[in-house]
Subunit: 412 residues, 2 copies
């Protein structure tokens, strides 16, 4: 008898009708002869509403109390779903993270899972019950309630699939899987059947909002295959897995974009050793994540210009930090541009294929799109461009690499 872990996101269970529909899908899974463990997110907008009320009480609520508050959303969902399953005549039991025994450290609002006690779940499964676990939450050794941060319910599902040695881990969401590009921008974007953890990590960090990197890291570490699929259809989605065997000619898997970025430039920095260390050391101390960095020097001029990108939410902190180090590094000016975006191509095939970068650049050139910064890794090439050109760029690159056509069917 196979063990299947299914995770349902907030939109999948927003409202009684959707909850009932999900309940039927779960029962179908069980009736096909499987043991089933379900992980649920908070219903619809519940979390946002709780955060809104908390903000009306105080602009900076205590993190322990935020976790105490937000954990109620998933607890509600788990109870609602158990009720819906009961109403259809099957046995089910809801459990909070604490009741399961998902023990975390004490980093409230962003806790790390330390260990999971599987006894309670295994006991309920052996009683032929569907087990419904409130996602996103755990409990400290002191029994304080914690939450796992963004994408925490996915993490609960992947972690449970790992410790329970589940045969499958299905993540149900409101999209049908991982696409070669954002289908809202590229009309012939194609659903990818299988993708490697590495590629998915790059796509996730580049703004393809299917799963946050953390869950994929954990899945990779423990070898859990994740099947991302839609809760609104029976269609197969995308399997994120270790080994992806595919036709040689598939070089690029997908095109991603990210508009949540600002370019910051420090001009007229003396060309001396240790300057970059000072700048990025100061930012690191302030916990600002820097994405791309470019240093350019006019030969013989003795001065450099250093540009880097950060998330928009980190701009204020970045500028404050730069003002502090400006004197120390004898820089002249600090400028920023929040009208930029990043487009990227991702694919493990790139490792062994040459000419991929130039193909991407020429796609952008043909559309008269100026490239401001470039960064490359073994499986990714990113370009910073003007934000207004984002959609045009994604479409041009997607077309250039023939991503709209099925793999192995005459791709150039």
């Amino acid at each position: 008898m196979a063990l299947i872990v299914q995770k349902y996101g907030g939109t999948s269970i927003a409202g009684p009708e959707r909850i009932k529909k999900v309940a039927r899908r779960i029962i179908d899974t069980k009736k096909r002869g499987n043991r089933v463990v379900i992980v649920v997110s908070a219903p619809g907008d519940t979390t946002d509403e709780l955060i809104k009320t908390a903000q009306q009480i105080t602009p900076s609520p205590s993190e322990r109390e935020m976790d105490m508050l937000l954990a109620t959303g998933e607890q509600m969902s788990s109870a609602f779903l158990a009720m819906a399953i009961h109403a259809l005549g099957e046995e089910a039991v809801s459990l909070t993270g604490g009741q399961v025994g998902i023990v975390t450290d004490e980093t409230f609002t962003n806790a790390k899972i330390r260990r999971i006690d599987t006894r309670k779940i295994e006991k309920e499964l052996s009683n032929d019950r569907i087990v419904i676990v409130a996602g996103f939450q755990g409990i400290t050794a002191e029994r304080d309630i914690t939450t796992l941060g963004r994408g925490g319910s996915d993490l609960t599902a992947v972690a449970l699939a790992s410790v329970l040695r589940a045969d499958q881990c299905e993540v149900y969401t409101d999209v049908a899987g991982v696409y070669t590009a954002d289908p809202r921008i590229v009309s012939d974007a194609r659903k990818i059947d299988r993708i490697s953890y590495e590629e998915m990590l790059e796509l996730a960090s580049l703004g393809a909002q299917v799963m946050v990197p953390r869950s994929i890291h954990v899945a990779n570490k423990f070898g859990v295959d994740i099947h991302v699929r839609s809760s609104f259809s029976d269609e197969e989605g995308t399997v994120i897995t270790r080994e992806v065997s595919r036709m040689e000619e598939v070089v690029v898997s997908g095109v991603a974009y990210d508009k949540d970025m600002v370019k910051v430039a420090i001009t007229d920095v003396p060309d001396r050793p240790g300057i970059a260390a000072k700048i990025f050391g100061a930012l690191g101390k302030e916990k600002v994540n820097v994405d791309m960095i470019i240093q350019s020097s006019a030969v013989g001029a003795g001065v450099n210009s250093i540009s880097f990108t950060v998330a928009r939410g980190a701009l204020r902190k970045t500028l404050d930090t730069m003002e502090k180090v400006k004197q120390e590094i004898s820089a002249k000016g600090i400028v920023y541009d929040d009208g930029v975006a990043k487009v990227s191509i991702v694919g493990v095939g790139m490792r062994t294929h040459s000419g991929v970068a130039s193909k991407m650049f020429s796609a952008l050139a043909q559309e008269n799109i100026n490239i401001e910064m470039i960064s490359t890794s073994e499986i990714k090439i990113s370009c910073v461009i003007k934000e207004k050109d984002t959609e045009k760029a994604v479409r041009a690159i997607h077309r250039k690499f023939g991503l709209g056509k099925a793999p192995g069917k005459g791709r150039k």
Copy 2:
């Protein structure tokens, strides 16, 4: 240093502004040199909304899952209140019933408290923190979440006050205390300063919706004085206590009414032993609570008529049960009247005073109000009348006993 338990009801903490106001009151209490334990209900309409959604999923949700669901309301309140206290610069910590260690039996939706572990609360108090406990909930030995039933948060407060040997137990609500009659009906209804557990029990069961009988029973058993007062003012409320010393002439404490009742009559029942036992035995088996019972027989006729009252919600079940026993007891007809109500006077002074009943009856007679049923106990006299006469009756009785005047000030 005194220990004070305060309980705040749903209306007291409905919305950010009220939560902040309550937080200030709590901090004031602590700053007067007290240790403070707070019990909170769910905010405003949260519980009703959760029940509504559950009903949309299934008309008969599992009781375990209802408790899992409803316990979130109080958990939210406790977190919100802790945040508000932090924002004002004081230390506070919220705890669920399970985190405190309020261990109950397994009667989901109406659990009984078995024991309370005071260690966690005492530890937090010794760290100079305000402890905020989510009311209405507990946990079984198996760590399933339970709720305590109607008025459960009051019960949490009284039980905590008892085990912690608190110096005071204050129950904050949206009324200023216990009145001699419903102030919405009787304009000169007077707030009672002190009232005995016994009288409060009678008033509560008679429809004065200040506290449910269960909490008062527990308070009585463990000798906890309850101070019922308004969260919207600093005025003293009503202390419910064991010993109430007062002027000899105070005979009647208050007038209560109850419209949630139906009168059911079984006509032409043969005058044989065992008939009443059959009727009320059958109702007892169906868990129908019968309030007043009157049996009248026409002398020599050999037939009786039996009338009794039940809550409106129990009418359907009552009639079904009566249809079943009708044949067995050879009764002719079953009729009911849902246009009735009960008015009652309550007072420990009645025990030693004669003429109280006749004074009540004459108050009703002067208003031309017909009495359909009468029941008396040592500290209570109740009359069933037409529902439409309720307000008139309450006013007449209140006036007749001079309840609007302060005790000891020339009452007749």
